[in-house]
């Protein structure tokens, strides 16, 4: 009964809608990102996104219109860094994300102080979502789903083998950019709910978990999307029932799923 009662609160319904949409997008994009060793880009972007949001709040600007372009530009920048210098890429991303976070914190403490707004960007909150966020999430996730579907084979090809794709005349740069931009959008949307510190887990966990269980790329993509939604719903419900922060409960649920998948994968591997 208490579970049904949950849906009488409009903010919970909004959290479910936005969360499910963001989970699906993050999981889909996560598979190529993880396989291309770009997981850290997701993490870097969430910190940049936090920095942008704090500055926007401090200046009294609307948060999303400011942070979306900033994060998209950073996504392109991080992508270039990763492509240019294979060796220093993870260090470069770490530097960018720590700096963005630091700037966000300094701007915040100089102006408003640590308000609930800023706190909710850091650790996520189901109260942070407005009706406009729901509309934006629906728009962005529709775009992610359609583009992912349209370019599924191309994304597979550039993920599996960039040099071959380049040699056969595919515009690899265009698809990498598409991947980075869609990731940026997904992260900005999901960050309000999950928090800057935890949003990258939404990108990484489902792909990792699905990879333990499935042997085909298609299987991994489908399972990652399903797992992501299930983990989000379980996590959100747990957060409602136990009064826990959403982001953290979703991550812990995902971790449990990952550990279970690892054990199942090991057992299967032995037989």
């Amino acid at each position: 009964m208490i579970l049904l009662e949950m849906f009488t609160y409009p903010f919970i319904v909004r959290a479910f809608v936005v969360g499910i949409l963001v989970s699906v997008c993050a999981a889909l994009l996560g598979v190529p990102l993880v396989l291309k060793r770009y997981s850290m880009i997701g993490d870097g972007l969430s910190h940049v996104s936090f920095g942008a949001l704090s500055v926007a709040v401090a200046c009294g600007w609307a948060p999303l219109p400011v942070s979306i372009p900033v994060v998209v530009v950073s996504a392109l920048g991080l992508l270039r860094m990763t492509e240019r210098s294979k060796l220093g890429a993870d260090a470069a991303i770490a530097v960018v994300s720590a700096s963005a976070l630091a700037i966000g914190i300094i701007v915040t403490s100089l102006t408003t102080g640590m308000t609930t707004d800023v706190d909710s960007y850091m650790f996520g909150s189901i109260l942070a979502l407005s009706q406009a966020d729901v509309a934006l999430s629906i728009g962005v996730s529709a775009a992610v789903l359609v583009l992912f579907g349209l370019f599924y084979h191309q994304l597979f090809a550039i993920t599996f083998d960039e040099s071959f794709s380049r040699a056969t005349g595919m515009r690899v740069g265009v698809y990498n950019t598409l991947l980075a931009v869609l990731t940026a959008l997904t992260i900005v949307l999901g960050m309000r709910l999950m928090g800057a510190m935890l949003i990258s887990s939404l990108v990484i966990f489902p792909a990792l978990t699905a990879m333990r269980l499935k042997k085909s790329f298609f299987g991994v993509v489908v399972l990652a999307a399903c797992l992501s939604v299930v983990c989000f719903c379980v996590g959100l419900t747990a957060s409602y029932l136990l009064s826990l922060p959403v982001g953290a409960s979703v991550v812990v649920t995902s971790l449990a799923a990952f550990l279970a998948a690892t054990v199942i994968g090991r057992i299967r591997g032995r037989n």
Binding site: L35, K36, R37, G149, L150, H153, Q154, F156, A157, F160, D161, S163, F164, S165, R166, A167, T168, G169, M170, R171, M211, K214, K215, S216, F217, F218, G219, V220
Partner: protein, 237 residues
């Protein structure tokens, strides 16, 4: 009788940012040729490959391609990356991805492409592996999968970048026999960068040797008679 020319370098200077690594390179790949590119590390073999694949423009001169090779229709076997070793994908998924060249975006593979993918897997003896996961295959089997993918991209020319690196000797011999079969029976031209001089001399029709500032292109016999060939091919021939 002249065989049809697939790819021709005509007085081409190749290199990066105005700095030519290859100067006045003249050579051609004709239908059914088997050419090995040899030379020390850093002598510009990968620059040449990139240029042949059309990823790098010649600084001067020309690289002409036959009509049938335009639009990315070159079968390429790159060096394997570490990321691929544990990639979750079935053999079928990998092989079919060879059809995604520049021309035309389709949402699904056509029935003809799916059939052709099966034919190519058959040619390489990996049909029974078609639902297996790529990461569970041996190095030699993985190379066959990538060759089948390359055949989906192109039927006339295969360009291979050190294909036997990392294979055990038996798998390497296996790969050479497969390539010889594709070359002789299917008439596919092969251009291979390799360090394996012994097998290069055994299987190739022509050798392109990259050296500091100078190069050699000619038949294996001419190569062995040349100063470069005596120095490099001597011990194994």
């Amino acid at each position: 009788m002249d065989k049809e020319i697939l790819l021709a370098c005509r007085d081409a200077d190749l290199g990066y940012e105005g700095k030519a690594i290859w100067e006045h390179l003249d050579f051609q790949v004709r239908r059914g040729d088997y050419i090995c590119i040899v030379g020390e590390n850093g002598s510009g073999k990968s620059t040449l490959l990139k240029s042949l694949l059309g990823l790098l423009r010649p600084l001067s001169g020309r690289i002409d391609r036959a009509e049938s090779l335009r639009g990315g229709a070159i079968g390429y076997l790159p060096q394997q990356t570490r990321a691929q070793k544990d990639f979750p994908a079935t053999v079928t998924e990998v092989v079919r991805s060879g059809f995604l060249s520049a021309g035309g975006h389709r949402l699904l593979y056509t029935p003809a492409q799916k059939a052709q993918a099966l034919v190519n897997m058959g040619k390489l003896g990996i049909l029974e592996l078609k639902d297996r996961c790529y990461r569970e295959l041996s190095g030699g089997q993985q190379q066959r999968v990538l060759l089948a993918r390359a055949l989906c991209a192109a039927r006339e020319l295969l360009i291979l970048d050190e294909p036997v690196t990392g294979l055990d000797p038996a798998a390497a011999q296996d790969l050479y026999r497969t390539l010889a079969y594709l070359n002789k029976t299917e008439g596919i031209a092969i251009v291979m960068v390799t360090h394996d001089m012994e097998n290069a001399l055994r299987y190739a029709d022509f050798i392109l040797h990259a050296g500091q500032g100078k190069h050699f292109f000619g038949t294996v016999r001419d190569y062995l008679a040349s100063p470069m060939g005596r120095r490099f091919g001597g011990e194994s021939a």
